[in-house]
């Protein structure tokens, strides 16, 4: 084991002590319990309060574990919760765009489809919830890759699905940078010939991207002259923003 950082160890000891009982503890009690001078503790406590891991009771001045810390272990958003919170907005997106609506999350390097609304034309369609899409060749995937906190590059080799699929890692990275800058992703016949897709990020209350929502449809409808109609982009971004607002509540 290499060198450890003393102040991190001391912070951990403070948290353990605060977690060891139901009582709030004052600086003097903490100092006694940890065998450390009060002055040392003050700086660490101030930092822990700043990041929300510890709270100070305004009345007594004593310390307890912070709400942020309590939610740390369970802060991921359940995909079924995400579907429940998104369902009305996804319906509205499909209704306005007259195209199928999709919501995906990142799962082991792929896009897991967690919600799918049929294109409202009463044609025969099959529910695609539970299927996977390639990250580098789908609009949903590009949004998720662009905002992946682990920033792992899509696993090369990037498999071509059509002649338009981006398979050069450098080109993909440029594309992802564009997605981050403009806030939405396009997929121009990169997964299926004749199909284009648009997607935008869904964020939770911390601003972390927890999913992507988008539409998919025929190139003749969504991009008549080879360029995407921006009204569709605004439908998708409106839906993503509405869900994001909802999740912040």
């Amino acid at each position: 084991m290499g060198e450890t950082i003393q102040s991190v160890e001391r912070a951990a000891a403070i948290l353990r002590l605060l977690a060891s009982g139901p009582r709030q503890l004052g600086v003097a009690e903490l100092a006694r319990g940890l065998g450390l001078p009060k002055g040392t503790l003050h700086g660490i406590l101030r930092t822990l309060v700043h990041v929300g891991f510890v709270e100070q009771d305004p009345a007594t001045g004593k310390y307890r574990l912070g709400a942020t810390l309590l939610h740390l272990g369970s802060s991921y958003l359940d995909v079924n919760e995400l579907r429940t919170r998104s369902i009305n907005w996804a319906d509205a997106l499909a209704g306005r765009s007259r195209e199928s609506a999709w919501i995906g999350t990142l799962h082991e390097g792929h896009v897991l489809v967690i919600h799918h609304v049929f294109r409202p034309d009463d044609s025969m369609q099959t529910l695609q919830v539970g299927t996977y899409l390639p990250t580098h060749a789908s609009a949903l995937g590009k949004v998720l890759l662009a905002h992946d906190p682990y920033a792992e590059p899509a696993a090369p080799p990037l498999r071509p699905h059509t002649k338009h699929t981006v398979i050069d890692p450098g080109a993909l990275e440029e594309e992802l940078e564009r997605v981050r800058t403009r806030g939405w992703a396009a997929e121009m016949e990169e997964l299926v010939d004749g199909e284009v897709a648009i997607a935008a990020p869904i964020k939770d209350r911390r601003g972390v991207v927890v999913g992507a929502i988008g539409i998919r449809g025929a190139v003749e409808r969504l991009a008549t002259d080879g360029a995407l109609h921006m009204e569709y982009v605004s439908y998708v971004r409106d839906a993503a923003r509405a869900i994001t607002r909802d999740l912040a509540r």
């Binding site: 429940t84 319906d91 499909a94 369609q125």
Partner: protein, 490 residues
């Protein structure tokens, strides 16, 4: 270019009043909502303040119009859908309520309905309803006695109405009700669609206090701003209409805390031999009434909440699906949530809930599966009863309500019913149904076909288990149901 017009629907529900504006495609343009107080004076009693509800309805109507950024002149029609059976009495002269509104859930008429036991078959035959505490007739009787209002009611000074009637009175100044709401009072003859002297007599309700029964869709009058008020339907009937279940056999199921299945049975009332109730589905203008069979499941989504709040197995209702998917099947476990007895088609008040088939193998994942399957099997029991009573075969189920976000439940429903389960694009089917009926009355929509054209599938689930597996599971479910019986000693 003329300004676009919209149709507004008031959805006066048990906990809140909402106003939703729809466009010609049936898309939601804006929503406004206000909750009202639930008043619990004693255990089992639930009251609303009808005046508060009317003020809320006025407020949400104007908020919905403002929220859409339109003017009230762009509202082509206004429809009403409402919590059913809740009973309001008011003073004809002042227009103000004379007592609290008694809500459908209120059980204060328990003794009264028991005392009417000798007339059970009369109510079944004429009103199409079983003797339970939900319906309005006994609530009126109770209020007349408790508040000493009988003489004034006989002189027509005190008026009765369900929520549709109360809102129509305030909106148009007329004392009318729609036929679907009237079919929940125990006072209307379901065959003649008129107040029935024999039923009035048995319940002791004076005819002078009753509203005029009108079709579900016609122009009843106009609001102060000149908007035609053009439909009224009970909430479950409105959902049937919003799901465009216009043909006999077409069935909708709404999954909330409980669940309501309603099947269109055509122009003749079907008397149930299997514990369902007969009700009016809708009546458009001068056309014939369309009847329906209704079956209620008391505990559906509320069982998921129970798992969350009482057992702490999940932290949100949606997580039930995540937990259930940690296993591939129910592990031999069955959960019959007969928390307050078994309802349709069993009607056994002595039953209580059971988790059956427990072994050392069963995990919380299996219990979560069993919880979801419980809603599916209860639906199957009601559907079987509907098929037997109507002689029609369910060909698909149109599902709406909050639980339709649960894909595993929707798949399980399709598996146990052996028919496709369809989720429509607009989940607000109740408000949509009221809007559709109002728009039909005023010519905003020309005919039923134009409404059907608005209906789109958002998702569809196909049966994915074979008949042998289905029958095996159903047999086990029935065994579990049998184990709930005879628990409460009467």
């Amino acid at each position: 270019m003329p300004r676009p017009h919209y149709v507004a629907a008031i959805d006066q529900g048990t906990t809140s009043s909402r106003c939703i504006l729809f466009d010609e495609g049936g898309n939601i343009i804006s929503v406004a909502q206000r909750e009202h107080r639930q008043i619990f004076p004693k255990p089992g009693w639930v009251e609303h303040d009808a005046e508060e509800i009317w003020q809320n309805v006025r407020a949400v109507m104007s908020e919905a119009v403002t929220g859409a950024g339109i003017e009230v002149g762009q509202v082509a029609a206004l429809g009403i859908t409402n919590q059913r059976e809740t009973t309001v009495l008011w003073d004809r002269a002042t227009g103000r309520p004379v007592c609290p509104a008694v809500v459908w859930q209120d059980t204060r008429t328990d003794a009264l309905t028991k005392a009417l036991g000798e007339h059970e078959s009369l109510f079944r035959e004429k009103a199409g309803l079983p003797l339970t505490t939900y319906f309005s007739g006994p609530k009126i009787r109770w209020l007349l006695d408790a508040y000493g209002l009988r003489e004034r009611a006989e002189r027509g000074e005190v008026l009765f109405g369900t929520m549709d009637s109360w809102l129509l009175w305030n909106l148009t100044g007329r004392h009318v009700t729609d036929v679907t709401n009237a079919s929940r009072t125990m006072l209307m003859n379901i065959h003649t669609l008129a107040w029935d002297d024999e039923l009035l007599d048995v319940l002791g309700v004076p005819r002078a206090m009753l509203p005029e029964i009108r079709p579900s869709a016609e122009v009843y009058g106009h609001t102060a701003e000149g908007v035609p008020v053009a439909s009224a339907l009970g909430d479950q009937q409105a959902a049937l209409f919003g799901q465009t279940c216009f043909e006999p056999g077409e069935t909708k199921s709404t999954y909330g805390s409980g669940s309501f299945l309603v099947m269109n049975t055509g122009h003749e009332p079907v008397a149930s031999k299997h514990g369902l109730l007969t009700t009016v589905g809708y009546q458009i203008g001068d056309g014939p009434a369309t009847y329906a069979l209704e079956g209620a499941i008391a505990v559906a989504g509320s069982l998921v909440q129970w798992l969350r709040d009482n057992m702490g197995l999940i932290s949100s209702a949606a997580e039930i699906e995540t937990l259930a998917k940690t296993v591939d099947d129910n592990g031999g476990c069955y959960f019959v949530p007969a928390f307050s007895g078994l309802f349709a088609p069993h009607w056994r008040s002595d039953a209580r809930g059971v988790i059956a088939g427990l072994t050392g193998f069963v995990t919380k994942g299996h219990v979560a599966r069993a919880v979801l399957e419980a809603t599916a099997w209860q639906t199957r029991e009601v559907v079987d009863a509907m098929n037997a009573d109507s002689g029609l075969d369910l060909t698909n189920l149109r599902a709406d309500g909050g639980m339709t976000a649960n894909n595993l439940l929707m798949q399980t429903l399709s598996d146990v019913l052996a028919v496709p389960v369809i989720r429509p694009m607009v989940s607000e089917t109740t408000a949509l149904g009221a809007a559709y009926a109002a728009g039909l009355s005023t010519g905003y929509w020309p005919d039923l076909d134009s409404l059907r054209a608005n209906w789109h599938k958002a998702a569809e689930w196909q049966p994915a288990i074979d008949e042998a597996a289905r029958e095996h599971e159903y047999r086990n479910w029935k065994k579990a149901v049998a184990r709930t019986l005879d628990w409460v000693e009467q």
